[in-house]
Symmetry: C2
Subunit: 159 residues, 2 copies
DNA sequence: AGGAATTGTCTCAGAACTGAACAATTTAAT
DNA sequence: ATTAAATTGTTCAGTTCTGAGACAATTCCT
């Protein structure tokens, strides 16, 4: 008889953190799959949808702002804006105060497009999240926001 | 004067779900970045690390089991096992009862490797999660497990 | 003003997968 | 036993992005 694998005795605090990480990434992966299937109906990736949604809710933004908001790489935002521009959903506009920069904005077609698909997508998300009660959803959101903020504020607190 | 964008009045339940989705995916993306940087020190992707960890904790498994556990595509698991095999960290073993299938197992080198790097990685995760108290971590894990389970049990409840 | 450092974006090579089609079995049905 | 259906893993073409470096414009120092 033999235990499956002690796998090094882990202290309780670390075990707790690991368990949270496992369920967090699994839940996200599962929801992402559902969300991806939904936006794929409109020939969009989640990242593309994210760009459209950011512009829809916040209005025109500098490319860098969109990048930070959607958490893609520098090359990624260029790629995404290129693709969306090719479909005439967004456009680049020169920034008067800083000629290196440019705004990214929805075109009329892009506005109409995201307006028409966003509500359906929101309903898919609502259905997915309905496994939790409203109160539970708020609790989860509160905790996850804390987690996310702590990471962006302390990218490398090493001294 | 003009509001930024009403973006279609969303009912409270949907808004709650969307907010949760945003903080969930952001938190995950941030943590993933940290975790990816950590395993990259050992020339591993997160997916590769996930395979090694699964085998380390559960012992040899059929390729399909590893695939389901790590949530990669069918082609993905072949790709990952190929890469890890090339580094002599895992190996394929024929399955006696089913000649289509094969087990994936850690080699001695792979076992030593994951044993040596897992604790460090666990500590990185523990530090990341330390933004939440132990009780909060358990609450979050509980809620996220519910969410994840509800999605795997009802992949397409459409009738 | 002049030079260095910083910032904002783009380019590009290529990494890390995905998913559809396929071959090899195994299981179920007739 | 045969045929059909389902399961397991692989191949391969193609997609989506990443990250290092290049470049230009701006800001900061003296």
């Amino acid at each position: 008889m033999q235990t499956v694998t002690p796998a090094s005795a882990i202290d309780p605090a670390t075990g707790r953190a690991l368990k949270l990480w496992v369920v967090l990434s699994r839940a996200t992966a599962s929801i992402e799959r559902r969300a991806r299937e939904d936006v794929a109906r409109h020939d969009l990736t989640l990242a593309e949808f994210g760009v459209l949604e950011a512009l829809y809710h916040k209005g025109p933004m500098l490319a860098g702002e969109v990048q930070r908001r959607t958490l893609v790489s520098s090359g990624g935002i260029t790629y995404l804006v290129d693709r969306l521009t090719a479909r005439d959903l967004v456009e680049r506009r020169p920034c008067p105060e800083d000629r290196r920069a440019n705004y990214v904005a929805l075109t009329p077609k892009g506005t109409a497009f995201i307006r028409s698909i966003f509500p359906e997508h929101a309903m898919v998300i609502a259905e997915v999240m309905s496994a939790l009660s409203p109160g539970e959803q708020e609790t989860a959101a509160h905790l996850l926001r804390q987690l996310g903020l702590s990471l962006r504020q302390a990218p490398d607190a090493s001294d």
